[in-house]
């Protein structure tokens, strides 16, 4: 048995978290890349977001991560810290071309001066609202500058005129909560990494939605409790049970695909002080993993993923707004209605957001899970709001102590 006379294909694995729409597009991109690059064979692996990091942890321990993996801004630092991701600096100018990338996106992927991650989309918080219901109720508001007081009256009006609940109940929604914390000029974590939210801020936050529950403009607390962490098809705006759902701007495309009514995009409501609460974050990155079998092939795939016009045309805006200025320009004429809405939203929030925060300390993920768990007690009316707020602060401190 002699050796094959042909050169061996270089096999690269790409692992990402997705949804049906993203998976469809990414697999198409992989197919195109393989066609254009004989000699390199990329294969795709995907999971839902809630399972992705569990699988990744197992692979880190088993030293068989895929060559290129998807990362998020919040969690990336823990993985870099653990040595699971390799720096890309050696490939810049070679197989990796970042000349057309936004400087902000490049620096977001730098840690300790080294480039670890390529941004594959930027996003921000968005309040998706049902434009048909809003029209029926005759709502007029400034999507980039409305307040929580306005939210209360809008939600009540929508419920009154259309019978549909005006808004999702964000009591246990950590993203809406984080924005509120910033809008109150506080920070989730201080410089030392201690949990920095005063209990009173948490109490005020919970009270807003308690008021809306009492007024009947958001669903019953028990119904909302059942929706925490659920998949997109159960979201209020998709099932038609509520007129506003709070999510990320890159999910607009996926959600619109599941919804008949046209979606509108607004920022999260503000406090009267109008302090910005959201950030524009590079939502997803593609990284080179420690276990790559062929770094050069993997990096050339990554470079094509963010630069190649044919590939980026397929990816579109599904993961967020591309960081490559040429790609954005090329996409402009091809956008459908919801994509145009999300780009317009993105343009509209410029200047109304806060600066990118420093990476959260370890334990941040656990604190988020704890918040989502403990806040349910408020939804179910099983404890007083003050008690729950104090419990959240206590547990967050406990988690931080354990994570040091």
């Amino acid at each position: 048995m002699g050796l094959s006379a042909f050169a061996r294909d270089r096999n690269i694995r790409h692992f990402w978290w997705g949804n049906p729409e993203r998976d469809k597009r990414t697999l198409e991109v992989i197919r195109l890349f393989n066609e254009k690059n004989p000699g390199i064979v990329v294969s795709g692996e995907t999971l839902g977001m809630s399972d992705y990091f569990t699988r990744l942890t197992t692979q880190i321990a088993g030293r068989n991560m895929a060559d290129t993996i998807q990362m998020g801004y919040g969690v990336m630092f823990e993985y870099i810290d653990r040595g699971a991701i390799l720096p890309l600096d050696d490939y810049i100018g070679g197989v990796l071309d970042i000349s057309k990338m936004d400087e902000s996106a490049i620096s977001a992927g730098r840690v300790d001066g080294k480039l670890y991650a390529l941004s594959i989309g930027a996003n921000s918080h968005v309040a998706m609202y049902n434009t048909r219901l809003f029209e029926e109720a005759g709502i007029e508001f400034d999507p980039f500058g409305w307040t929580y007081d306005e939210l209360q009256s809008i939600a009540a009006k929508v419920k009154e005129t259309t019978g549909v609940f005006g808004s999702d109940d964000s009591t246990a929604d950590y993203q809406v909560f984080s924005d509120y914390v910033h809008q109150r000029d506080e920070r989730l974590f201080d410089e030392e990494g201690n949990f920095g939210v005063p209990p009173q801020v948490i109490v005020d936050y919970f009270n807003m939605f308690a008021g809306m529950r009492a007024a009947g403009s958001v669903p019953d607390g028990r119904a909302s409790a059942g929706l925490i962490g659920t998949e997109i098809s159960n979201w209020g705006i998709v099932t038609g049970k509520t007129a506003i759902t709070y999510a990320f701007s890159n999910q607009l495309v996926g959600v619109q695909n599941l919804t008949q009514d046209k979606l509108g995009a607004a920022m999260f409501p503000n406090t009267p002080a109008m302090i910005p609460g959201s950030i524009i974050q590079p939502s997803q990155f593609i990284c080179l993993s420690r276990d790559t079998v062929d770094a050069e092939a993997a990096v050339s795939y990554m470079s094509a993923f963010v630069n190649d016009p044919e590939l980026t045309a397929v990816l579109g805006l599904e993961r967020g707004i591309p960081a490559n200025s040429e790609v954005r320009a090329a996409l402009q004429p091809t956008l459908n209605e919801i994509e145009a809405t999300s780009v317009a939203f993105f343009d509209g929030i410029q200047g109304k957001t806060m600066d990118l925060l420093p990476p959260p300390p370890s334990g941040a993920q656990e604190i988020e899970a704890m918040f989502k768990r403990v806040a349910v007690a408020v939804l179910l009316d099983q404890a007083s709001i003050e008690d729950v707020a104090n419990q959240i602060v206590r547990e967050a401190e406990g988690i931080r102590r354990r994570s040091r």
């Binding site: 809630s50 653990r82 040595g83 409790a225 059942g226 179910l380």
Partner: protein
């Protein structure tokens, strides 16, 4: 036979056993011992394990309220679902034993859930069924009952899992059926001659004769129930929600290991579960000498 020739004769036996031994040591014994070692360490899978002695166990018993919650949920589940499952299984087995027509069909139908039940697909389906406006509540509405929020109300959520477990009664039922068939009919005939009521027949003949089978089912189902994972994991969305009412011990162990990189602590949790299961199994075995009598025993 001399010792040496006896030894030589057993060599082929050992040689045939070697493949299994290798698998057993590598895939069972070694991981078990490794997890025992890890339970005394702090290990996040990337940095090497760091020895911390009994700290994991101390934290578990002194500070970890979710550990106690997990125990409470798991014990409630075991002590609700196992008796219910076995009772159901016995009742249905007795009905099938009456010699009705198409007994084979019924047997297959009742057994089907226990094959499918542990699967992810059924758990996802179960979640949909018990949705606030799902099939179960719609059925209840037909008879005028306003169903609760099964999956978001901590006072009801565990029952959905108990029902899921009891629904899988088919496999203990089959074993009961076989056990019932083995009871000699003349015992019942003798009892009838003495004008025994059905209840008397049940408690004086059926139960004692079935005792070994009941014991077998009890131990197996109890161990299984302690290890129950996929139903709770899927139905609670992986978190034990709402308010940790579905935080089965195994789910808690899983999230500690794979969400928070606390492999050492999770190993400690695993060993505690092992001890708990061993204790309850030992209790069952000890109690069995009072109520389980095998046919070949004397007295």
């Amino acid at each position: 036979m001399s010792f040496r020739s006896r030894l030589r004769r057993s060599v082929p036996g050992y040689v045939f056993l070697t493949p299994w031994f290798i698998g057993f040591f590598l895939l069972s014994i070694f991981p078990i011992l490794a997890s025992l070692y890890l339970s005394f360490t702090e290990y996040d899978t990337v940095r090497p394990p760091e020895w911390i002695g009994l700290e994991n166990y101390q934290y578990m018993l002194e500070f970890d309220y979710r550990f106690w919650q997990a125990l409470k949920v798991t014990f409630t589940f075991v002590f609700l679902s196992v008796p219910a499952k076995l009772t159901f299984a016995l009742i249905v087995a007795m009905m099938l034993d009456k010699g009705i027509r198409a007994v084979g069909l019924y047997r297959a139908l009742f057994y089907l859930p226990s094959i499918l039940g542990g699967s992810i697909a059924v758990a996802i389906l179960w979640r949909q069924l018990f949705n606030a406006d799902g099939v179960v509540n719609s059925a209840l509405k037909l008879i005028g009952i306003q169903g609760p929020y099964w999956l978001s109300d901590p006072s009801y959520s565990l029952y959905t899992l108990v029902v899921l477990a009891v629904w899988q009664f088919g496999s203990p039922m089959l074993i009961f059926l076989a056990g019932l068939r083995a009871i000699p009919q003349d015992l019942y005939e003798a009892a009838e001659i003495d004008a025994a009521t059905p209840m008397r027949k049940f408690f004086a003949i059926t139960v004692p004769m079935l005792a070994p089978v009941i014991f077998f089912n009890l131990v197996l189902q109890m161990i299984d129930a302690f290890k129950s994972f996929s139903g709770a994991f899927i139905i609670s969305g992986g978190t034990g929600a709402p308010l940790d009412s579905l935080l089965f011990y195994t789910v808690y162990l899983f999230t500690e290991a794979f969400s928070y990189f606390r492999m050492g602590y999770a190993s400690a949790l695993g060993w505690v579960l092992l001890v708990i299961i061993a204790v309850f199994t030992a209790i069952a075995f000890w109690s069995s000498k009072y109520w389980v009598h095998y046919e070949n025993e004397r007295g």
